[in-house]
Symmetry: C2
Subunit: 398 residues, 2 copies
């Protein structure tokens, strides 16, 4: 595929978010790291992508639009790119000059990769004491698996989330989006922002070390509590919540409806809306714990009513009654939802090299202090910002 020249102009200086003025040197590839720096870019940071001469692997991942990876474009909008080979002295000089001006260095290589190049934390922090260095890797920088590579699929399997996703007795099921990478990217972004805040107090940076597997443990949530209390590893539960009832997907005449009546008040509203107010009098449906014990019986009773009408009918009835509910949307429906549109969660990347703007997810962190633009600048072609960056650094191209 060809990398057409795209968006080589430097960003403007006006603050565009709470991280305006923060410069991030971004050595990340594929998903976890680029997702982290995408979030930080949306918050106003300047992100300079330092790619190996062959470019970020994700430039080769589908789906493709006009020979470019839509996957890469979505993750790297508004970033700058320079290709550097850190085994070459001339390129190391450029890299060092970038670090001279940086607040943050992020990378998601395997543990030990940066050390081998001479950029271990001891070296980094002694030369750039204010630098926040964030490393996001499969297993983190310590422990017996530190040197191993991991991808989303591996940590979804090892971290337990696959064991609670899917249907009882069914095949192992992956979460349909790369939560292994994404949660690691989010935790890394939190670590970076908190360390930047702390630097204002201490005058010093810090190393932030995030492992994707660790993040999977951190999001297991009540599955850990259930195991801690019962000693039994919980299994998958299809489309229902383990300890809140009714909180599930239910069949209707023409599809499904999600009903989430998480407390007694909402359950009473639900019973009324379905024309079965007597449910609230029954011992087996008395409180959330009783309803969870009798989850199958309650589901059968509810579906006996719900399958009499369409999803659309029930959504209207339940919304009017104030019962939290919703449809199961596919991606097209989700992106077309009036609320999603009203919240500017579908933005367009403007790239002169593309015939049409490419849609992508917006920024879910809405701040009263900054605008939330409906468009985003282009993702960079490999090395697109070399000349501008070298000029800014006062260096000549070697």
């Amino acid at each position: 595929m060809t990398d057409r020249d795209a968006g080589a102009e430097p960003p403007s200086d006006a603050p565009t978010g709470p991280l305006s003025g923060v410069t991030i040197i971004d050595m990340t590839r594929v998903l976890a790291g680029p997702y982290c720096t995408l979030v930080l870019r949306d918050l106003g940071a300047r992100v300079i992508k330092v790619e190996p001469p062959g470019g970020d692997d994700a430039r080769g991942f589908g789906p493709f639009i006009e020979d470019r990876s839509a996957y890469f474009l979505s993750l790297n909008r508004g970033k700058e790119s320079i290709a550097l080979d850190l085994k070459q002295a001339a390129d190391r000089r450029v890299f060092d000059a970038l670090l001279d001006r940086a607040d943050v260095l992020v990378e998601n290589y395997r543990a030990g990769t940066l050390e081998k190049l001479g950029y271990d934390w001891t070296a980094l922090s002694s030369r750039w004491p204010r630098l926040v260095y964030a490393a996001v890797s499969g297993f983190g920088h310590s422990g017996p698996y530190a040197g191993r590579a991991a991808y989303d699929m591996v940590v979804q399997g090892m971290g337990g989330i696959m064991s609670v996703t899917g249907w009882p007795g069914g095949e192992p099921t992956r979460v349909g989006t790369s939560v292994g990478d994404i949660t690691a990217g989010l935790f890394t972004a939190i670590g970076i922002c908190a360390s930047l805040k702390d630097r204002e107090r201490t005058g010093r940076g810090a190393k932030v070390d995030v492992g994707m597997l660790d993040c999977q443990i951190a999001i297991l949530e009540n599955a850990i509590a259930r195991f801690a209390v019962s000693g039994q590893a919980p299994g998958p539960l299809g489309a229902r919540h383990p300890s809140i009832t009714p909180f599930e997907s239910y069949r209707t005449a023409d599809g499904h409806v999600i009903v989430a009546a998480g407390n007694d008040k909402l359950f009473a509203k639900l019973a009324g809306a379905l024309g079965r107010p007597e449910w609230t009098e029954e011992a087996r449906f008395r409180d959330n714990q009783a309803r969870t014990t009798h989850v199958d019986a309650l589901k059968a009773e509810m579906e006996a009513v719900l399958t009499g009408e369409s999803t659309e009918h029930w959504l209207a009835v339940l919304e009017r009654a104030g019962v939290p509910c919703g449809p199961i949307n596919d991606v097209a429906q989700a992106l077309a939802d009036p609320q999603v549109r009203a919240r500017n969660m579908v933005v367009e990347m403007l790239d002169p090299g593309l015939a049409e703007p490419l849609i992508m997810a917006g920024n879910p962190i809405k701040s009263s202090a900054y605008p939330d633009p409906t468009t985003r600048p282009a993702a960079p072609a490999l090395d697109a910002h070399r000349a501008a960056l070298l000029a800014e650094l006062g260096l000549e191209d070697g």
Copy 2:
């Protein structure tokens, strides 16, 4: 259930994380908000939970340990609690005095709830201009659904993640952990930290408004790119990645193994390790795009080999060959994993009211500047810190 007296001593003043010195007034309940402030607490912030007189709903959610909610305890370790009825003048004076000393106010009520009590953003920011106010709600504070309640299950259904999770032709499948709440909690934590950092520059706080549905769109990742390019809404794919191959769960003689060979180099290693080096010569397996086109054929060839030996055998063989791989662990296995233990991702909450320490997930953000303790302080009984807080504020109990 009874709320025994637990952990009423105030926290020490020594910095324990990058957010040491930050005081958070936490009006959140159940999961999304408490998860956000749990992450911030682990980073050193002081979190004062302002509960309604009846307490956080989650105190009533199972599983229970010695009559207390293990779910609540896991999410609220190390926080302080005071019960306030904001419809009472005396309690409003306490709340105002807390805000006088606060850096952050977080709540996850339905949009409009705080406004009705007189604590809208205009009022908050004019009285406390340095306050960061974060609101995490089902749909955010704007748009047609702003006033509606939502729970995890609703936004998982509406936001599209259920449409890409599960098996082709199968029943709709929920992600087995509450990613609707958790990702909203993480984005809110990022918004808070970034706004605190920005306050150092501007001297002013900001309102951060995060909607759970928005966050579901933000994590759809390549499902959006696939829809944008093809115009077709993607469906569920079981246990495989949509555009990277081989990247899936495969059958072995006694179970499954995850293999994630995301590029040509790794695929060559895999082919060698399985004794089928000739795969790399085949046109249909030539590159990632070709392998994704022929994903079923490749899976059949791989399983023909893999089902000849056990999962344990293949993990050893693949690890030796440097191919990213892993088992599918249940929660018990995941928590016992040597890497998870070495990374201190299973910590113990010490509570004098419990016969045994309760295990819970640790902090995945490892910082070079702060220790990562193996224990956590107790979660508070409802209103446990009233006397200490009133004394600190110089107020008398009304």
